[in-house]
């Protein structure tokens, strides 16, 4: 089986990708070229600022539009991507990114809206966000969701700050420690430090669960200083912790909160709701679980769900909905007589109709067509409307504006097309694929734990009879076979880890071919190990000198 990487772009005028070195944009530059047009100045010019505030010029490349297009098309051909082939990076959930999502996010009515437009002019956006909040609450089993965080790590920071704010609010400011398992993603301890808190690490047991006795001892010793625990479940070994209820009880028992790292939610949608499992906070990765593209490293989106007692601490603004029925019920709203129907019963509400001030003359003008109020109650036919609020004890904003809206549109589209049953099917097939692939690797590579796995599992790059072979060699050789490698050397607690996550969108044939490649590589390791040490042989570049990159950093182009 020979890899076809590179074959894609072989053609009369192009050498095989493996031989191409695409120049840096600056090397393509010729003074006087430009790849775009700008309108002519149609107003009288103003006097420019004083010379000491101005610059001569900006050193940017000058290329034609064709140069530019060819450059980026050629660069794109040096990439591996989901749309090219299997991408089993553990913990990254590299599932198919549906094309309809891209079309949805590019609808001009969405893309051409400014975040500071008056809420009544962006009801479509706010409706979508509100519905997504509601759907994520349902999937996760939570009482509140913020869409603001831009990535998983950003969601973690948000979640941990919420936990800390809750503890401080109830007079437990001494709770400054977060329990983190040794199997955790690096972001968990990094988030803890960033939040001004201290990490206490808890080991894993032989079956890949949190070591319950160690946790018990820790809770006993550190109980009054524990802010909470961050737990990825299923964990980074791809295993659902067999003692989850006991872990939750221990942490809650000593006054701590449970943070769920939702990186691995793809295994349990419709299988279990993290909120019902006892998690108080969790971030979702829309760019993993909900099929939004990874983009070569973002943009992602990391909404955070919380249980009832933490809702007031969420970062804002959140989107809220009011219905006429609610207005009627809550405020005795009666048509023309209503003083204010904007729904801002809360004195601290963010509604900009200004009626939080009791004495103010409400100008939201319930029946007035020209009303300013963003509650939308002027829209005679609309049964509901949406507005932005800042929760009462909010930790504050975690970014400007409201979240990665374009990513939210994609995730919304995905959830709406799948529905509840569809999401459960996603998780079931993700878990079926992982267990099947694991079964096919028996006898080829060691598997870290002999248990039913969830959506991923950890193999080891160790081959009996080929002592010089490491996980890295196997990974690089996989490239020659036309597969993206799995995640390497993570989790740290498994020697020579190869963390494999096939996702639900891959077919049995692909999994069989991948297992076949690993079998062939195992055989090569025994007969011709150099083939692995020197791999990849069929990629745009050979193994790169990372040590040199770090010792003599070249971080920008220099003439």
């Amino acid at each position: 089986m020979k890899a076809d990487f590179g074959v894609r772009c072989s053609g009369a005028s192009l050498p095989a990708v493996g031989d191409v070195a695409e120049p840096v944009l600056y090397e393509l530059s010729h003074p006087g070229r430009m790849a775009t047009t700008l309108p002519a100045l149609d107003v009288p010019p103003a006097e420019l600022p004083p010379a000491e505030l101005l610059r001569e010029s900006v050193d940017l490349p000058e290329v034609s539009e064709l140069d530019l297009v060819r450059h980026y098309v050629r660069l794109s051909q040096l990439n591996w991507a989901i749309d090219i082939g299997f991408y089993p990076l553990g913990s990254c959930t590299m599932k198919y990114n549906p094309k309809v999502n891209e079309a949805a996010a590019r609808l001009p009515g969405f893309t051409h809206t400014h975040p500071y437009q008056d809420p009544h002019t962006v009801q479509g956006n706010l409706r979508l966000m509100w519905e997504l909040q509601e759907m994520l609450k349902e999937i996760g089993g939570f009482a509140g969701v913020t869409l603001q965080p831009c990535a998983g790590a950003h969601g973690e920071l948000t979640g941990v700050l919420i936990m800390r704010a809750y503890q401080v609010d109830r007079g437990e400011a001494q709770r400054c420690k977060i329990i983190v398992p040794d199997a955790a993603h690096g972001t968990n301890p990094a988030t803890t430090t960033m939040s001004g808190l201290e990490v206490i690490e808890v080991p894993s047991d032989a079956r890949g669960n949190v070591d319950l006795e160690a946790l018990r001892a820790l809770c006993l010793a550190e109980g009054p200083t524990v802010c909470g625990m961050m737990l990825t479940n299923p964990n980074t070994l791809g295993l659902f912790d067999e003692h989850l209820p006991e872990i939750v009880d221990l942490v809650h028992g000593c006054g701590g909160l449970m943070y769920g790292d939702g990186a691995n939610l793809n295994a349990i949608m419709g299988v279990a709701k993290p909120g019902e499992l006892g998690f108080d906070v969790m971030h979702y990765n829309l760019h993993k679980t909900f099929s939004t593209p990874h983009g070569g490293g973002g943009p992602g989106s990391g909404p955070v769900g919380v249980c009832e007692k933490l809702v007031d601490f969420l970062p804002g603004p959140l989107v809220e909905m009011v219905t006429y029925e609610e207005l009627e019920r809550d405020f005795g709203y009666e048509d023309e007589d209503a003083e204010c129907d904007c729904g801002c019963e809360d004195e601290d509400a963010e509604c900009d109709c200004g009626c939080e001030d009791e004495d103010s003359e409400c100008d939201c003008g319930c029946e007035d067509e020209d009303a300013e109020c963003d509650c939308g109650c002027d829209e005679g036919d609309e049964a509901v409307s949406f507005y932005l609020v800042m929760p009462e004890k909010s930790i504050g904003r975690v970014k400007a504006f409201y979240g990665n809206f374009g990513v939210l549109v994609r995730a919304y589209t995905y959830i709406r097309m799948l529905g509840g049953e569809g999401l459960r099917q996603v998780s079931e097939m993700a878990v079926l694929n992982a267990n099947y692939l694991k079964s096919q690797l028996q006898g080829i590579l060691p598997i870290s734990h002999d248990r039913v796995c969830m959506h991923e599992f950890v193999a080891q790059g160790i081959i009996a009879g080929a002592p010089g072979i490491r996980a890295l060699d196997i990974s690089k050789r996989l490239i020659d076979y036309g597969f993206h490698p799995s995640s390497n050397y993570f989790p740290l607690i498994v020697p020579e880890a190869l963390m494999i996550e096939p996702t639900e969108t891959e077919s049995k044939e692909t999994l069989d071919a991948f297992a076949g490649a690993l079998r062939a590589i195992r055989d090569e390791a025994l007969t011709d190990p150099e083939l692995l040490h020197d791999a990849p042989h069929n990629a745009p570049v050979r193994r790169l000198d990372e040590v040199r990159a770090a010792r003599e950093p070249v971080l920008r182009w220099k003439a």
Partner: protein, 446 residues
């Protein structure tokens, strides 16, 4: 539609290979009481139906394509050349992951290296990373970096009140557990507050009100006490204005959206982040470096990873991993499309049009242009009535989306509007705005 390819036969064969009877048998570790809850979600719909629904939903909005908009305040309506979306729509870019396997990620890596190079050129700095989430979070990360450069020994941070209010809010959110003293004073006042405990001064240029500031003196004062100067900057302005690196900035950050990324109701955007080479190991975020492969051929890798969470865990400079790579790619493509000449022309278009609009508005009864020259593409106008009321007339009667209501987050600036004019606004639209404002003054003022 679940995008799942499994046939019934596949399932049977796979279950047999695993050695279980049913898919449900794979979930025995999930506590029984919580297993297989009903997800109460809307019924699934087809692609055709969801697109129709989303089309309708998107049309519930009034968009700046149909209503000329004078809103800026950190999110800018610039024209994005078609070539940008063409490039970022290539699925070799958008369906790739973070380039951890450099041999099969040279496209992403080189494009980031080029982005870093162009951001350095624009800001006049030596090093730029692969991006942060947005302008606000890159500002917060700049503050944290300054604390790290001072090895945690300095606890005071001076934020100019002319920095975007939401950026200042995010700095406070990010640093709430760090026991800092955050002072919000303007540039002149903060000179007197600079001391040996100050980690950094954060200023914005052009500032939140659009005003161009001369920060040269501030840089000198900050450096005199060993503090860093962090400058938040609009990248479009750098086609015209002196690079912050040339007036002493130590860290330059900002919102990159204006280059290559649409308004998108506030995201996804990207925070650009540049610093001095001497501080690079204290910088958070991914960095791409040039190196060679085994055969001596030029190639690119993620580098200086020992700063990052996946290596250093609780000792990392930040927890950031996923950033905004595709948005940074869009920025790079736009920058390269503009090139040296286009960047200058674009900045001048904004500058001249904004000044023209200000001059026209200054001639209106009831309005006062509060900004002094020179400003860049935004300026402040005092209105004869609350901004909300003026904007209502603008929208309802003229189909114009008016400026930002400064009263919403600036005490004392009630009735003050921040107007933004970019190259997408024509002279005719400026004329319409002026007429509409005059109309609004009459209508609301009485």
């Amino acid at each position: 539609m679940t995008y799942v390819p499994h046939t019934d036969a596949d399932r049977r064969e796979m279950l047999a290979a695993i050695g279980v009877e049913r898919v449900e048998d794979l979930f025995h570790d999930v506590p029984l009481a919580c297993r297989f809850p009903v997800l109460n979600l809307p019924e699934p719909v087809s692609e055709m139906e969801i697109m129709a629904e989303l089309q309708a939903m998107s049309e519930e909005n009034l968009d700046v394509g149909h209503y000329p908009s004078f809103l800026g305040a950190g999110a800018y309506n610039h024209y994005v050349p078609r070539v940008v979306d063409h490039v970022i729509s290539r699925s070799e870019f958008y369906t790739a992951y973070t380039p951890y396997q450099p041999e099969v990620s040279q496209g992403t890596l080189q494009s980031i290296f080029e982005y870093q190079s162009m951001v350095c050129a624009l800001t006049g700095m030596e090093v730029a990373n692969a991006s942060h989430y947005d302008g606000a979070t890159s500002t917060a990360e700049a503050v944290i970096m300054a604390l790290n450069v001072a090895r945690g020994k300095r606890k005071k941070v001076i934020l100019s009140p002319t920095v975007h209010p939401e950026y200042r809010a995010v700095v406070r959110t990010y640093t709430q557990g760090m026991g800092l003293e955050i002072v919000e004073k303007d540039a002149t006042e903060c000179m007197s507050l600079l001391d040996k405990d100050t980690a950094c001064v954060v200023a914005q240029n052009p500032n939140f009100f659009g005003q161009i500031e001369d920060l040269t003196g501030l840089a000198e004062q900050a450096h005199a006490v060993g503090a860093l100067l962090v400058v938040v900057v609009d990248p479009i302005s750098l086609g015209l204005l002196k690079a912050p690196g040339d007036y002493g900035a130590d860290i330059v950050v900002g919102e990159g959206q204006a280059l290559g990324n649409g308004l998108n109701f506030g995201g996804p955007y990207l925070g650009f982040f540049a610093c001095r080479e001497r501080d690079v190991r204290k910088m958070a975020g991914r960095l791409v470096g040039q190196t060679v492969d085994r055969e001596g051929k030029r190639g690119y890798v993620l580098t200086l990873a020992t700063r990052e969470q996946h290596i250093r865990r609780e000792k990392a400079t930040s927890n950031i991993c996923t950033n905004e790579a595709l948005c940074a790619l869009a920025t790079a493509v736009h920058l390269a499309a503009l090139g040296k000449t286009g960047m200058r022309t674009l900045a001048e278009l904004c500058y001249h049009k904004a000044h023209y609009a200000a001059e026209r508005i200054a001639g209106l009864t009831g309005y006062l242009v509060w900004s002094h020259r020179p400003f860049f593409k935004e300026f402040v106008v005092r209105c004869p009535a609350p901004v909300a009321e003026i904007n209502e007339v603008l929208l309802e009667e003229w189909g114009i989306i008016g400026g930002y209501d400064l009263g919403r987050d600036h005490e004392g600036l009630e009735n003050h509007m921040l107007l933004c004019v970019t190259e997408v606004i024509s002279r005719r639209e400026i004329g319409a705005l002026v007429e509409a404002l005059g109309d609004a003054a009459t209508e609301v003022g009485q």
